[in-house]
Symmetry: C2
């Protein structure tokens, strides 16, 4: 990449994929924030120029060190600041002089601990200087594509997710990073992550606007406790939701949680009803917890949107079929009524004790073929909008080939299919294999049905907007 | 163990820990039901005598084979039948002659597929012969202590849980075995498992009565779709719940699920309200899904019962503190109000930005000591009934020693403590270490709070019954 400045559609681009980055507060001491961040940029996929800044050092990790950002001769597009709070303002003024486009202030000790004056000073120093600022008091940015990685914990403690199509905006840094770590372990992948902290400048609304336009982001996930500007947030959210699914989880919905949020991020939360109604109106998909957020996100990435809410269940374990039917009812979806043709086609090729209703109970002596042919019939039945297939991989006559059969049968599906499976290591390995082939899998009937419900809600809202 | 008959408190003992067992339908063919079951009894921990029965074979897996059960000269306490449905009646008559105490009929093809007549024949053959029968159409028994293992799937496909204090009764075999498999992977352990199938003789109520008296069972878990005799079930359930927690999950609560249950186990389900009210009255703990069932069970095993519903949250990640406070409110529990002494004791030893309210937010720069001292204060505070501690292990100043500190501080706790943590492999390993030290851990604030709620509900019901 050239040392020259790059041109971008949005100034926020410079946070995620800068041609050059200065780490201000780079440290020689292993484990320190300024050491880990410098190391992240040097040893990973990041292809831009990296400039450590530390007036006390000549060289860190083999890179020439600069006394300040102005001393760097080449252009600096992005700066990451991790110096003590009291000297951040001075450093920020240097960045302004150097015409840095994107500044991320990791340092804490501002409005979040009642130090409003110091945060105002930052605001003043930045005003009218053409810089965009993320933070202070944040984890900053992680971009799996460009390799930009401001997470200040080493990878052995906090896993880094691989490439993915979900981008994640989090008001809480600790929550956000714990989820990234979980995501990495699960092998789900992330596109871009931003922890924006006190939102001195760049807010959740700005990030929504940016990610709505970002081509590599297919789904946006959002954890917020409060918003800076309700009207702007809803406008940007609405626009984003027109382009791609936006899944939101709001901390502090209860008055108890709201009080906690106030002492955490200073967010004044409105009543849960007001928030939930506003989210619905904006077309956001609401999740009950963080694991559900990523369950929904996976389904949005792999599945087409459904035309209706009629779910057909196929199972090889009667008990799970029953629980799935319960979940369909509890979540306001409907059990599909199979067409007579489909019923006939399945019944003809199955033993008489196979119940071809809803659920279709293939029973525990099903084989690969029985699973495949019923899935095929159901996928092409006009009476079915979505398919929940329960595969208990333990049953004796199924084997590893079931993965290929399900994936192949569903390859050009026009309606959503989710697979539910419960069990231990053997089942987990086959679930993982299905995931790799682009099928979303879940561990409980309720999780699977909730994901279908999210697909249906988003689909319905999109259809309404078109009218 | 002697070849003589053993004397038991309950005849059901012979299913779980027989001095001798005949595998009727033992097979020479690897992978077949009668092969896997014989293998289970031979290569595991089972110490009793094992007699393969198969008229076609002289020897299987190195054991002398018998033409029928009568040919065995020594007493046979337990028989496992896995021959085709149409010859089960004859085999059962042999068992009666041999005075077998406990017969498990694995074979399917009876009432569950509408073959009521054949099931009636079984009933007739067994009547007045002093045998207890589990099944037909079931997986039978798994006992981690005695090594009795009738699960007909090999261990590489269906994991066997280690020893534990939870016993599990399942009307659905497939669901039951998938959960055992999951349990084994999670390392949770199981005491006894029974899949009782069509309940020709031994019913869920009989098993509840038996496990209520079983000394090694501390918690009973129950999956049912319907019950044979409602009055008897509730009586036995009530008695069992007086002795130990009984956690129930009922498939077919919705009318959709109920229809599915009818074609699965022939169970006619009542209205959800009726069931839920009856369960509550009997003192059963109701769970929303199978994962929750085992979350509850773990908490019941490790935790003392709470005296009230006031929860104190301690966290090192503000966002999770907010979500936990939301969960406390949503689940009908209360946030505790710390005493002034406790507040003072914690504040004195923490930096000024640590918020000592509820949640206590130790912030992301907490160290081991800060966690330990706040936990200690909270555990001894009279204003607190239950403690939810959120530990994001990723934060920089915590290290592996936190496990020992939490476990040691909580060692003689008089009130429940649950730990919530989110993250990847590093966090999972520390959670596992905490579990080993007798602390229940959870992956989401809601899971942790739901477990506390279950403890509180059971505690409250127990207190009411004493009045």
């Amino acid at each position: 990449m050239s040392k020259k400045e790059s041109k971008r559609k949005s100034q926020l681009d410079y946070f995620f994929n800068p041609a050059s980055v200065a780490i201000i507060g780079a440290s020689r001491q292993e484990g320190k924030v300024g050491y880990v961040i410098l190391q992240n940029f040097l040893r990973g996929a990041f292809k831009g120029q990296v400039y450590p800044v530390n007036p006390e050092a000549d060289e860190i990790l083999g890179k020439k060190c600069y006394k300040n950002v102005i001393e760097i001769k080449e252009p600096v597009e992005s700066a990451v600041i991790c110096v003590p709070a009291k000297i951040v303002t001075g450093v920020l003024k240097d960045c302004a002089k150097k015409k840095v486009k994107a500044v991320t202030i990791i340092s804490a000790g501002f409005a979040e601990i009642g130090n409003h004056e110091m945060q105002k000073e930052l605001e003043k120093a930045a005003k009218g200087k053409g810089m965009k600022i993320v933070g202070p008091n944040c984890l900053g940015v992680y971009d799996s594509e460009s390799g930009a990685d401001m997470l200040f914990l080493p990878a052995n403690r906090l896993g880094r997710p691989g490439k993915g199509a979900v981008s994640f905006i989090s008001q809480s840094g600790a929550l956000g990073s714990a989820i990234l770590d979980w995501d990495a372990m699960k092998g789900y992948g992330i596109n871009k992550f931003v922890s924006y902290g006190n939102a001195l400048d760049v807010s959740e609304a700005d990030l929504l606007e940016y990610l709505a336009e970002d081509q590599t982001t297919k789904v946006i996930v959002l954890y917020i406790e409060g918003v800076k500007d309700g009207r702007k947030f809803l406008e940007k959210a609405k626009n984003a939701a027109k382009k791609k699914p936006v899944i939101v989880i709001k901390g502090g919905l209860s008055s108890e949680g709201s009080r906690a949020a106030q002492s955490h991020t200073g967010s004044l939360a409105g009543s849960p009803e007001v928030y939930m109604a506003a989210f619905r109106q904006a077309g956001l998909v609401q999740a009950a917890n963080m694991e559900e957020v990523f369950n929904f996100a996976r389904a949005f990435i792999t599945e087409p949107l459904p035309a209706g809410k009629r779910v057909q269940i196929i199972t090889d374990g009667g008990g799970y079929g029953v629980l799935a039917a319960d979940a369909v009812a509890e979540n306001g979806l409907e059990l599909a009524q199979l067409s007579n043709e489909a019923k006939k086609a399945i019944s003809e090729k199955c033993p008489s004790y196979v119940v071809v209703e809803n659920p279709i109970d293939l029973t525990g002596d099903t084989d690969n073929e029985r699973c495949g042919l019923s899935l095929q019939q159901v996928l092409q039945d006009k009476n079915v909008d979505m398919v929940l297939m329960i595969v208990l991989f333990q049953v004796p006559k199924l084997d590893e080939r079931i993965v290929e059969i399900v994936a192949e049968t569903a390859r050009e599906r026009k309606k959503p299919l989710v697979v539910m499976s419960a069990g231990g290591s053997y089942s987990e390995s086959l679930k993982m294999a299905l995931e790799k082939k682009g099928i979303s899998t879940f561990s409980s009937p309720n999780d699977a049905v909730r994901a279908l419900k999210a697909l249906w809600e988003y689909s319905e809202q999109k259809a309404k907007k078109k009218k």
